[in-house]
């Protein structure tokens, strides 16, 4: 027996977008944005309670402006402030930090991460409304509206801005999608009225020419 239209729509269209959206948090720009955000806030918080060092100030600076404590420290001042045994690890850390910062700025990491976060929220809200949509005899109008008004426009905008890196689904999501389809169908499928997915409904008699 063919799958119900709602199940097919969930499997082919709705859930691949929702599951892909969760993978956005694993993207390098999203992770670096989180790391830089926490680092900056942490350094500012430590400075506020009187704990500071040139290394903290260097890691906490945004690169384009001076930090809260004044002008950014120099590499020499940072290395002079650490014990001798930690000079090379510290130099390596600073080098990696600089590379990440440059890559983040050159690849529009900030913009992409902010857009990705917003996209994730929109799709999470759509996901939250799924149970309401599925608990009806005909979930298709609600699913179509969700896809056309919330999911696809958001994903399309993020693809254009490079903050959604796939076209259009993340790889290796099939197992997660199947698992979620199975769970949703086992809970709601009994409520769904049978429909003919192939044929158009006949016009009402008064509309016939």
């Amino acid at each position: 027996m063919a799958d119900h239209l709602v199940k097919r729509t969930l499997e082919r269209d709705v859930l691949p977008y929702l599951v892909s959206a969760r993978q956005l948090r694993k993207q390098w720009f999203y992770r670096l944005h989180t790391l830089f955000g926490y680092t900056t806030d942490l350094v500012v918080a430590l400075a506020a309670i009187g704990i500071s060092s040139p290394l903290f100030r260097l890691l906490g600076s945004t690169g384009s402006t001076s930090d809260a404590a004044g002008s950014p420290p120099t590499l020499a001042s940072v290395l002079a402030s650490v014990p001798l045994a930690l000079v090379y690890p510290t130099a390596g850390l600073i080098l990696a930090w600089v590379v990440f910062r440059v890559a983040f700025n050159r690849e529009d990491g900030q913009k992409r991460a902010v857009l990705a976060r917003s996209c994730t929220q929109v799709l999470r809200q759509a996901e939250a409304s799924l149970p309401t949509a599925l608990a009806t005899a005909d979930p298709m109008p609600a699913l179509n509206e969700m896809l056309e008004k919330r999911i696809r426009p958001t994903v399309d905008r993020n693809i254009q801005d490079n903050s959604w890196p796939w076209v259009p689904f993340a790889p290796s999501i099939d197992a997660d999608v199947t698992k979620e389809v199975t769970a949703l169908c086992s809970r709601y499928e009994a409520d769904w009225a049978p429909v003919n997915a192939l044929l158009r409904q006949a016009p009402a008699p008064e509309n016939k020419p």
Binding site: L5, R12, M140, P168, V195, L199, R200, Q201, A202, P203
Partner: protein, 122 residues
């Protein structure tokens, strides 16, 4: 760059006649939709069909097949296609009967002409 266009063709049997499903006094013809001239970076086409379908909005992601979609219809309505590419979304629309007539040429066979008339009449 050429403007994308929606192309619609009847599915034909071995004798070259349009295939259809009959329900009551309606003949639901099998039709193939596709988009010609889509930008090379198109990743999906969303067809928006008449609301009388249970699945009136269909997303197709197979670019190799020209984003082809199968449907049936007993009558005419405006088909809309959102062509979703990396650099933006282009929307094109066309009456189904116009797309079918254009695809089957100025001198269709009698069976195709009859099907075209039937579509246009409903």
């Amino acid at each position: 760059m050429s403007t994308p266009t929606i192309r619609a063709t009847f599915e034909l049997d071995a004798a070259g006649r349009p295939t259809a499903v009959e329900t009551g006094d309606l003949r639901h013809y099998h039709i193939r939709l596709r988009v010609d001239g889509a930008p090379p970076d198109t990743y999906a086409v969303t067809y928006i069909l008449d609301p009388s379908y249970h699945s009136a909005i269909r997303e197709v992601r197979d670019s190799k097949a020209g984003f082809e979609e199968h449907l049936t219809s007993y009558g005419d309505y405006t088909v809309e296609a959102k062509i979703r590419a990396r650099d933006g979304v282009t929307t094109v629309m066309v009456p189904l009967s116009t797309a079918l007539t254009k695809s089957h040429g100025e001198e269709p066979t009698a069976a195709i002409a009859q099907a075209l008339e039937s579509i246009a009449a409903h």
